[in-house]
Each structure stands twice: as C-alpha cells, then as structure tokens.
Symmetry: C2
Subunit: 392 residues, 2 copies
Amino acid sequence: MINKQMFEYGSKSSVIRELFSYGLERKKIVGADKVYDFSIGNPSIPAPAMVKQVILELLEEPAEVLHGYSPAAGDPKVREALADSVNRKFGTRYRADNFYMTAGAAASLAISIQALTVPGDEFIVFAPFFPEYAVWVETAGAKLLVTPADTEHFQIHLEAFENLLTPRTKGVIINSPNNPSGVVYSEETIMKLSEILERKQKEYGTSIYLLADEPYREIVYDGLKVPFIPNYYKNTLVCYSYSKALSMPGERIGYVIVPDEGENAQEVMAAIAGAGRALGYVCAPVLFQRVAARCADVPSDISAYKRNRDLLYGGLTEFGYECVRPQGAFYLFVRSPEPDAKAFSERAKQHDVLVVPSDSFGCTGYVRVSYCVSEKMIRDALPVFADIMKEY
Amino acid sequence: MINKQMFEYGSKSSVIRELFSYGLERKKIVGADKVYDFSIGNPSIPAPAMVKQVILELLEEPAEVLHGYSPAAGDPKVREALADSVNRKFGTRYRADNFYMTAGAAASLAISIQALTVPGDEFIVFAPFFPEYAVWVETAGAKLLVTPADTEHFQIHLEAFENLLTPRTKGVIINSPNNPSGVVYSEETIMKLSEILERKQKEYGTSIYLLADEPYREIVYDGLKVPFIPNYYKNTLVCYSYSKALSMPGERIGYVIVPDEGENAQEVMAAIAGAGRALGYVCAPVLFQRVAARCADVPSDISAYKRNRDLLYGGLTEFGYECVRPQGAFYLFVRSPEPDAKAFSERAKQHDVLVVPSDSFGCTGYVRVSYCVSEKMIRDALPVFADIMKEY
C-alpha cells in the first residue's frame, strides 16, 4: 500500500497536460501547423541574449567552485545582488538575509506553505486560481478555501473573501498578474485587501501571511505598474520565479522574500529554511542562481506577447467573444459561448483549437487561451475561432 | 504560530554545518592554511572537462527550447540515454519510463519516501547513517528505526536488522559506498539482506522497498565493484545523484529508478511523480539533465581522492588511530581515542583540526574525516593528528 494521495496527484494528469498531450498526438496526424494549441503557458520568446553571455563568462571559473554547493539559502552574493535589484525597483530596503533562493515559484510556494502550516490551518485563494495551489496546501496538511471570482472585472470579490477569514486562516495566496485571467490587481484592490487583513489579524490576534505568487511580475503591458505587495501589507512573503521574466522555466530558479517588517520574520525565515531542507531541496541550482543575479535587471522582451495579445484580443472580441482585457501574463480568459466550458473546449477541439476549460481554475464558464505562441498560429487560428462562434 | 518542526529543522544547524562555519571564521583569524577542515563532503576535484564542453555545445541551441520545461519525469531522450548507460553498466533492461529525473539524491529520497508512506509506516536505516534521512522520514509522517552499527567491519548488523522488521516496515534505506564509513557493502551482505527482506515480505504479506541511496556509486577504489542492488532485490528504488560522480553538487541533478520487476511498479512510479509535484518540483533542472545524459559514461577522476585516502589512512593508522579501510566515497570513520567522540572532536578543534563526531550518524565513539580536500592540507595536518594522539 503506497500513499494514495501521491498516487492520485501522479496519475490524474491535469486538464492542461491532457490537452497538451492530445495536441502533440493530433499534430502527428493532421500536421503541426493544423493544430492550434493554446493550452500551455510555456514562454515562446527565447531567454535574453545576456543569459547565454553570462553562462559563457561563468564557465571560465574553476568548475569545482562554479558547480559546488551554495549555502541552503543561496549564494550570499547572489542574494545581495537580488536584494539591491528589488530595492532599486520597489524602494524597499532588503538585505541578502531577506532572500531564500528556491527552485522556482512552485518550490517557493510549497516551501512557504509547509513552513507556516500547523494542523487545522486554512489558506484562501481567489478564483480563478492556478490549480497547483490546492496540491501544495493539501500536502502541507492545510485546507484550501476558494473566494468566488469577481466575474465583472476579475479583481477580488472582497466581501466573499472577508466572509472566509477565520482565526484558522494562516495564509492567503495572491497571483498578480493573474494566471489564468491576465488581470493585474489594482492598487485599490491591494489596499482594500490589506485593510481587511490588518483588521482581521487584530480582531483574531493572529498573523495572516499573504503569499504573493509573482512569476508574471515583469510581463505587463501598456506601461502598467504592478503594485509590489509588501509595500502595502507587512506580512507578505514574495514567491518569485525567473521562469517567465527570463524565459527559462526549465532551469528552476526563484526565491522567497521574507521582509523584516513581517511578524516573527526571523522565525518564518528559519521555518522556510527548514521546510526547504525537509522537502529535499539542498540549494537552488547554483549556475542559474548566478545567472539570475546577473540578469535581474535585464528587461523582459514582451513585445511579442503584446502583439499576440492585441491580435488575439482584437480578433476574438470582434467575433463576439467576451473577454476581460488582459494587462499582464500571457493568457486570455474568454467567456464560453455556452455555459458549459468543457463542452465549448470540446467543440473547439473538433476544430483542432485547444483551449483550457476554466473549471479547474475554480470558476466555471470560461476558457483560458495562452498566447505565448507564434504570431502565425494566432493568425491562422483566428478564422477558426470565427467559425466556432458561428455555430452558436 | 508557524510549523515548529520546520522551524527546528531550519534553526538548529547540523553539527557538520556548525563546524564548517566555525572553520570559515577561524580561518579569518589564524589564516586559511592553518585550519585543517575535514568537516564537509564537498567534492574538491573539478567537474570533468566534458561537462563544460557539453554546456558550450548546448548553448548553441535555441534558448527557448534549451531552457524550456521538460516533462515532469524529465526529458524523454535524457531518460533513454541514462537507461542505456545503466543497462550497459549493470546488465539491466531499463527503459526511459523506469527513470524519474530529480534535483539530486536528497530530492530522490524525499520524493520516494513521500510517495510510499502511509500513516503508521516505518523506515529502517543502518548506523552509521546520513542524518538527513531522519528529516525526510519524519516529514513524510513515518517513523525512523536505526539498526545499530556493525562496528567490526561496518557491514550490516543483520540480526539486529531482522529484529526491527515488522508489518509496518515500508522501506529500508541503504547507502553504499557509505557516508560516513567509506565502506562498500559486500555482495554477501546484499544477498543476506535481500534474503531477509524476501522472507519477511512473504511472512507479512507486505511490500518492503529498499531505497538505495547511491551518490558515491562511482567513487570506489582498488578496482572494487559495487553490487547494483536491484539485481539482488526486486523491490529496490535507486536514488542517484551526479553531485559526486560529476563533481557538480550545486546543480542538483539525479534520478530515481523504479524497476519493472518491483511490486506495483507502475503505481509506485505514479506516486513518485505525484510526490514530486506535491513537494513543488516541476521538473529537474533541464540544462543539467542533458549534461548528465551526455556525461553519464565519463569516468569520475578519483585518483586525487585515492591518493588522499592512502595518505590519510596510512598516516592515521601509523599514529595509532583505528579506522576501517574505506573502499569508496571520501570519508574515513576513525575511532575516537576516548569514548566521547564530541570531546575528541573538541580537542582536535583546539588544534584547528575539524572532524565530525559520529553521534549524529547514529553511532557513538567515532569521528568522520572527509578527505575531499587538498593533498597539501592532509600533509600539513598529519603531524597535528600525531600531536593530538600523543595527548592520550
């Protein structure tokens, strides 16, 4: 008898993975350019040239040092460089000691949740949300509560959220720019959210940690500024990843920031180090720790994503699809023309258009359309989207 | 209130880390060449030149493919290449599907233990053992039982082991070549161990998994062959790492092999994939997956370690220290000249010689002396070891 929950996690693939696998098979039959796969969020623009340049430079160093262990929290010089970079961007005053390097945002979240959780704890998320949150919260032994979506603006349904808060609330997970909606939570939303949390912390005499999952922080359009959450709410842990900003998701590199201003910051950082150890992370991959440090200020080339967004958003809304205009990340969250998003996704599939029904994001009646794809595929797919709409 | 166990894991540093940190501080005071730090197991020989060569070649590929996600289990071509390599070495018939790529042996073990464990389960280890096993077993919710050391040959105390087996035994962790003893378990030991496990599985009607932790598999001397455990016992999971064989511990790359011959092999592999997901591993670092695949057959250059072993073992035994002759890894397990190994370690520290007392390895009265250090440091330290012995 093995662990059933782990077996379930491993054997039931996600809807996204299933669609992606279907797409690969289907391409073999009808040809790669005849399948319009909008299912996954794999960056399609290459890593900045600086990434290669830095690797080439680092390879000149003695190999036993270059590829050797770093301290568990990460190379101190890397953490110092990242603190400096974040300070310049957001006016903060972090030191190396506020940073714990991780193998990407998934690790940042799994570790942070594990570090915080005691039996009976609850974590709250905002629909629509990245479905893996449920896995990490359950694995740590906590319970996940879902705030229903604000389907008008895809900001936060604050009243519904407030009703979910209890003395058992250990954490709240926030993801902006949002996967799957593409929306950036406004400063007003963040301020109201912070006010509620501050008030409830006082009322309950507890600490409620806001886990800011920020892999898309740099992927924003129209000159928008993403509010930096710790500047609004003290008990924030920033869970960051270079997967999207530097287009290197396979290299697994990111960090957690534990600001000094948070409650029990030192204890929380120790527990994060402990959770990293307990979950089998020895240190974050060292070569890419240093690549991240050297490339932290390289601007992400999001021009291709922006072109894709404009093209796809413009086309789909012209055909009668309804969709909130995304300001960040690389997803459109399109209202399904029929109430059952799975049925719509299935119909699109008959046209070789692959889009993810929203049910697994905790919100029914939508599909997620990833536009981190080639512009050509979008151009080719648009008439097909138009044909599908005609069937309604 | 945060998770106390995680706080403990993060705030109580290991004896090894404490000694290492002490050494760094002490070097600042008395000079780097006056502190003889034998505390940690960080490979001192550089990665083979092939590692750099392969990275340079891979960097010519399109960056969005090179640094992109791999499937959760790892790049299929990487797994195929590793299966071929293992098959050539050990006469096995593995396929890519038997391999799950991980972020090193620590991740391999944490994931495997999490995948197998149900409440009430027990894991058995053999003293002396790598102390992190306790952390991973406890974190998965299982109990760790320690088989006392066979202090004569540092093989396995089989009778004591047999007495610890119960229907609750889910797994046994074996580490050969051994950290900290440097001993390689003989074919005879492995055969007897397998016989006991087979017999107990039948008696209890359970499956008992043997987790073979093999980061030192290629670090062996005197032409010795390390028995490949799955060839002796079917329910083996191989937990491997390239940290030591390719001298790149910071890059975090390894794998788990789940052989088809084991009980419920497919379910176990699914649970491993699920545990990888649950603990926040998305995929193993992709660049180094491919480096590992291309360098899997590059022989480890262990000549420096062998010279160190001969020099240190020869010197210490000449001065009257007692020590089993190590056949693998890069540790000597030296009997403390006084019963209290901590007191001996403390005395050595007064001479600026840093060696790790064996208590945390589940075995009292010894110190671990890592010889993955420069030959010069060993030569300089030998007279000091002689002086210390004279005090007894």
